[in-house]
Symmetry: C2
Subunit: 345 residues, 2 copies
């Protein structure tokens, strides 16, 4: 049998013949309430199964105890994997950090209405802070949130990275390291299969690659490709048949790396014996593939921790100075860079 009414501060107060104020303060842990009364209150609260009504609390405190993410519309293909998976982990990390903080998800598709959607979300005071995903180089959302003075942190840098909180992977360092990795294995003809420049990290990746190549006095070659069906495969076919005799392939995504392997197979080239291929993001396909793909992984947990650390003061209602954090990639060594190549060398 269920109680027909939710217990409130008032019901607890009435049962003990004390004021609502005292009940509230007792449960909030204030020191100006007698230890004995506190225990009584806590007992009754427990018995009644009291849980504070969040709407009421939010109304009076002005805090939402929630952070918001306005997602872009899913692509419907593997490109969503990173975002959705990250979301899962971030949510979990947030819950571990403080189980009373909600993650509120809504959608703001890129386009005309995007900023309005943000505006309405901000104005309704549903959340204390925002996490902005899939940042763009010049990101109007960043401008809006800054202007409206709403706390937020971006996942990924923007052109105005010095003016807002952000967390990002150190793409430059990561790609420099994997380039060096292939150079150390004896590769001299190494190509970077990058995403178009429109993607902000593309530039950073290229810089990392180029700096390692230049240090080794090797010629650089960068090719860009979209992730649309068939495109990376064709690009890979071209490269494998080029005069430059590329043996090292550094790819902006595991999906691209996988297509390089397929292209090699098509041409009768054994990727394990003759090539060194490195992907990025540690997508499921990288471990399933044959050969499995050496890849750069950036820990979801490290990202989440950094984001949460930055968001934390805002959730508590404080203001905080701008912060940012570069998370290192870690190399996951697999078969696509087996050392058999260097022995041939």
């Amino acid at each position: 049998m269920k109680k027909n009414k939710k217990p409130t501060l008032k019901s607890i107060a009435e049962q003990l013949n004390i004021s609502v104020t005292t009940v509230s303060r007792a449960l909030a842990g204030y020191q100006d309430v007698n230890e004995k009364t506190r225990q009584q209150i806590e007992k009754v609260a427990q018995d009644l199964g009291y849980v504070p009504n969040l709407a009421a609390r939010r109304l009076v405190t002005g805090k939402a105890d929630a952070i918001g993410i306005l997602l872009p519309v899913p692509y419907g293909d593997m490109r969503d994997h990173f975002l959705s998976n990250f979301l899962l982990h971030f949510g979990q990390a947030l819950h571990a950090h403080d189980p009373n903080i909600d993650l509120v998800i809504s959608y703001a598709p890129e386009g005309e209405q995007e900023l309005n959607t943000y505006r309405r979300f901000i104005d309704s005071q549903r959340v204390d802070a925002f996490l902005v995903m899939r940042t763009r180089r010049y990101d109007p959302r960043v401008d809006l949130l800054t202007l409206e003075n709403v706390p937020f942190v971006t996942h990924g840098r923007t052109e105005n990275a010095d003016k807002h909180n952000w967390v990002d992977t150190d793409a430059q360092k990561g790609f420099e390291q994997v380039t060096q990795y292939l150079i150390d294995q004896g590769h001299t003809s190494i190509v970077l299969l990058n995403f178009p420049e429109r993607i902000f990290t593309s530039q950073l990746r290229a810089e990392g690659y180029e700096s390692a190549m230049q240090r080794a006095h090797l010629p650089t070659h960068v090719v860009t490709t979209e992730l649309t069906e068939g495109t990376p495969y064709k690009v890979a076919l071209d490269l494998l048949q080029s005069d430059r005799k590329f043996t090292g392939f550094i790819c902006a995504s595991d999906v691209i790396a996988y297509e390089v392997i397929k292209a090699a197979n098509t041409l009768g080239i054994d990727p394990m014996q003759e090539l060194g291929i490195i992907g990025c993001d540690n997508l499921p396909v990288s471990s399933l593939s044959q050969p499995s793909i050496t890849t750069l992984r950036s820990s979801f947990d490290a990202h989440s921790q950094a984001l949460i650390e930055i968001l934390d003061p805002y959730l508590k209602g404080y203001t905080a100075p701008l912060r940012n954090k570069l998370v290192n990639y870690e190399l996951v060594e697999r078969q696509s860079t087996s050392t058999s190549f260097s022995s041939v060398f």
Copy 2:
């Protein structure tokens, strides 16, 4: 320069010298307000950028305008793909249905504290209804929500499916159809690589497979495998070397199907020419694989629509009779069931 205060009903009312009530009713679209006043009110609201404070509204209406999902802890591998991706699509569909409904995400890891987490979430009245994911055969969450009289719908059936709302894919029909599909292609030795029985749908899948096989008077063979690293591959190797000369492989997941292909390659068997392989879930790997994998896809959108239709009355504050919906799988034909087999036949 920003206004230093959020506009409220009161500020609008004062500016027009009318009552808060009228402003509220005008914006809510009630008929008892003069068309001219309504227009004035709407103009001022627009100019001031008025957006209702949700906490206040929720407090008085008792509705949260939100639905909650308490997620399990991610596995950290490809098994998360379906859940996280589904989440992305469901969120989008919900937003399309009504942009004012929030999706509130929190976590309730399976285990001792799970029900307490649910209880606190329920009692804080943060959401109007729940979507329960990764349902288990006997699911204590279902019992709790039913007992507490909180509206919810599960994604996937349970043993007590007749006592709650649910949406599920018609695994039985789907697996019957793909079995028939392989039979029609001339396969006679068809094995089902299923998940363990602990997973509720395993049984339904087996039933579908068995009924098609029995109708064709073919012997059935069911093998179960976990998705742990290496396991499906070993199972596939065994099957491919068995006396039974299996040529048809129906797999409970694309990941398993992919491992069958890998095992075939290892044994020098050409999967395209000699086998018919069918996966499930249309994971990214199924289209990337070579040969690409014929698979069963259940439309995220169809699921989301069904779920939202069931949830809708609760969001409006109505009660509603129990409902459920079976969503059909659709077959995505790819290379792993190319017809070259039947021509050999």
